[in-house]
């Protein structure tokens, strides 16, 4: 095994290398999941409790008090399905963005493909999602709402992929920026909160009339994913062009994130 150490020259994705370090990747995810709920009484239950509590709160505020429409889906299911995906995005993104800083000691001392760090931070929130999914199915059974099963098994995974890839993309971008400029550490919570309001998590996108709103929402990958996941309840044809837009914008965010991250990666150890 021979390797040449030389100044950084050209851009590459470095997938073979990540494959070479797959075991370390596995251990990072394993460690982050283990650590996440250490020294808690409820442990992994928190992955379920968080969206559940939020769903109950929002059901009171938005349904009881404000009577927000929910596309004829029972509001708890409606809100919960949105919050599940939203949680991947919000916790995944904020963990990924800070991941290089929290692991700075390792970054400064050991070589491995740095993409592993933010990716594992996002995968932890996917783990939370899988826990939360069980409650989702319980809710479906409880409300006895009719479901298009074909769509459930195809579109739900697609929605998950869109969410994960767009979260990773933004996570890479912010993680790399965060190493250079700590401004992003402060801007991020604000940004996430803002995004919650402009995504159709707690209200249906149909609340806005007209096509512009539809396309604008589709550009936001999280909105696209949430709408996709809700289409399993609605007996309307799927608007493939909207899914296409979401996929393209996801791809764009992902490529941008990877590109920027790889470009900065070599110097993380110098400036983190």
């Amino acid at each position: 095994m021979s390797y040449t150490i030389k100044p950084v020259s050209r851009f590459s994705l470095g997938l073979p290398e990540i494959w070479e370090f797959r075991e370390l990747f596995y251990y990072f995810v394993w460690r982050d999941i283990k650590v996440r709920y250490k020294q808690t009484i409820f442990g992994v239950l928190w992955a379920i409790l968080q969206p559940l509590m939020l769903m109950i709160t929002f059901s009171f505020v938005f349904k009881r008090a404000l009577n927000i429409p929910s596309d004829d889906i029972p509001y708890p299911i409606f809100a919960y399905s949105g919050l599940m995906f939203w949680n991947i995005f919000s916790t995944g993104l904020s963990n990924a963005a800070n991941s290089l800083l929290t692991n700075s000691r390792i970054v400064k001392k050991i070589y491995f493909p740095r993409l592993i760090i933010p990716t594992s931070a996002v995968l932890v929130s996917v783990f939370d999602f899988l826990m939360a999914l069980s409650v989702y199915f319980v809710l479906l059974l409880y409300y006895q709402h009719s479901v298009n099963v074909l769509r459930l098994v195809t579109l739900l995974p697609l929605a998950l992929l869109i969410t994960v890839f767009s979260t990773c993309g933004m996570g890479y971008l912010l993680a790399a920026l965060n190493v250079k400029y700590r401004d992003f550490k402060y801007a991020l919570p604000f940004f996430i909160q803002m995004l919650l309001f402009i995504s159709p998590i707690l209200y249906p996108s149909s609340i806005f009339k007209g096509d512009y709103a539809k396309y604008a929402f589709a550009l936001n990958p999280v909105a696209g994913a949430v709408n996709l996941s809700r289409s399993i309840f609605i007996d309307k044809p799927i608007e493939w062009n909207l899914i296409g837009i979401s996929l393209v914008s996801t791809l764009f965010v992902f490529v941008l994130g990877v590109y920027f991250f790889r470009k900065e990666e070599a110097f993380f150890a110098d400036i983190v």
Partner: protein, 418 residues
């Protein structure tokens, strides 16, 4: 001859001082700088200015040099943590670095979990870690606490566990950056033994350290760096000799120190240490000549003055003192300012780092007392003039034939008649 396992060709590394000195930049500063065309304003610093050498399979190379000479930067480049600015290096083997205490440890994970995670970080596969798990744990001596979170460990236990994982790596090239200076004496000895074992198994090692004793004991070849340049490469003994001869002139200015006691009728102003060739130094060998030159100022008619130089260890325990009352008698009528020399013909302490403190008394009153005015590093040396290097018991492992082992920290010249 085989191809070298590691070839280093003209490695340069440039740092932008702004980026290294400040913790991090803010976006605003960057924008403002780029608007001002600030690219030209950045100060540049070459941490490495063209380092080239080859490492052969089985070499144990000690890399020494003063702080800031570029040792750690070189290791960072070789372990691929940071890229060189110019030049290249070819490695022909798996490389792993021994880490500082618990770098890869997560405080919330248990000892056992950390062993696996750390193993993965250092490049062990899960299978390899599982195979060596018992051995690693036994070596560290923390068996009882394997299922306890590492945050409840003492720092000594953490070091032991971390070292154990690293010591059981089997990379072709092992990189060690100043890690042995931690841990208690017993474990240190264990580490050195393990290192000896690793070296004798034909592994290639790059070792950065300030501990000349350890370097001399472990390494067969040495590289000396100074301000980013390679000064010399050769056998470890030659390199250490050269390093000692080029140590910075060492003068400590103590005139301005505030943290002192005494009524101020006399003030110490400086202290300098000289070796037998009258060169300034802060590094000597056990058994060598040492001259201490003390500068002072006084504003009173001096009567019954006593000077005292105190040598103490890192725990601030006094090991011995040079007291002018005992060896000279009362000193009277000193000039207003001047220097005094105190000579120790045969330095009696074993290898280690010692601190010096000064005290001056006039009659019953303390005139001046300053702690930690100078640091003295002592290397193992030949004290009795019988070509035997005397080591302290804690530091000595392996290679016993080169010297003698002492149990007390201080040596007294003596002779036997048999």
């Amino acid at each position: 001859m085989n191809e070298p396992i590691l070839e280093i060709h003209d490695i340069h590394k440039k740092f932008k001082i702004g980026a290294t000195r400040e913790q991090y930049r803010t976006l605003r500063q960057s924008i403002v700088n780029s608007l001002k065309g600030g690219g030209s304003k950045k100060e540049e610093m070459w941490a490495l200015k063209g380092i080239s050498f080859d490492v052969q399979q089985g070499d144990v190379i000690g890399i020494i040099g003063k702080n800031g000479s570029g040792k750690s930067t070189l290791l960072k480049i070789l372990s691929r943590i940071t890229p060189p600015t110019k030049g290249y290096a070819i490695t022909r083997g798996r490389m792993a670095s021994l880490l500082e205490v618990g770098t890869g440890f997560h405080p919330e994970l248990t000892g056992a979990e950390n062993v696996y995670f750390n193993g993965a970080l250092l490049g062990l596969s899960r299978k390899e870690t599982a195979q060596k798990f018992d051995e690693i744990v036994a070596f560290s001596g923390v068996e009882q606490f394997l299922n306890t979170s590492v945050k409840h460990y003492s720092s000594g236990m953490q070091v032991r566990l971390a070292f154990s994982v690293a010591a059981h790596l089997e990379p072709e090239i092992l990189v060690i950056d100043e890690v042995l200076s931690v841990g208690d004496a017993e474990f240190r000895k264990k580490c050195m033994n393990k290192m000896q074992e690793v070296t004798s198994s034909g592994r290639t090692i790059l070792f950065v350290s300030h501990d000349m004793g350890a370097v001399l004991e472990l390494c067969n070849k040495g590289v000396l760096l100074n301000q980013g340049n390679m000064v010399m490469q050769g056998s470890m003994n030659e390199v250490v000799d050269r390093y000692m001869s080029m140590r910075d002139t060492f003068t400590s200015d103590i005139a301005t120190r505030e943290d002192r006691n005494g009524n101020g009728s006399l003030r110490f102003t400086s202290i300098q240490l000289f070796d037998e060739n009258n060169n300034l130094t802060d590094l000597i060998q056990t058994g060598q000549y040492l001259k201490l030159r003390i500068g002072y100022k006084t504003n009173t008619n001096t009567m019954g003055v006593m000077f005292n130089i105190n040598f103490h260890n890192h725990n601030s325990e006094c090991i011995f003192e040079c007291n002018s009352d005992m060896s000279y008698g009362h000193i009277n009528n000193l000039p207003e300012q001047g220097i005094l020399d105190c000579i120790i013909p045969k330095f009696p302490l074993l290898s280690g780092t010692y601190q010096l403190s000064l005290r001056c008394q006039m009659g019953k009153h303390i005139a001046d007392s300053v702690w930690d005015v100078a640091k003295l590093e002592v290397m193992a040396g030949d004290f009795f003039g019988n070509k035997q290097i005397v080591q302290s018991e804690q530091q000595s492992v392996g290679k016993r034939h080169v010297g003698q082992i002492a149990q007390s920290p201080i040596l007294v010249d003596h002779k036997w008649k048999i």
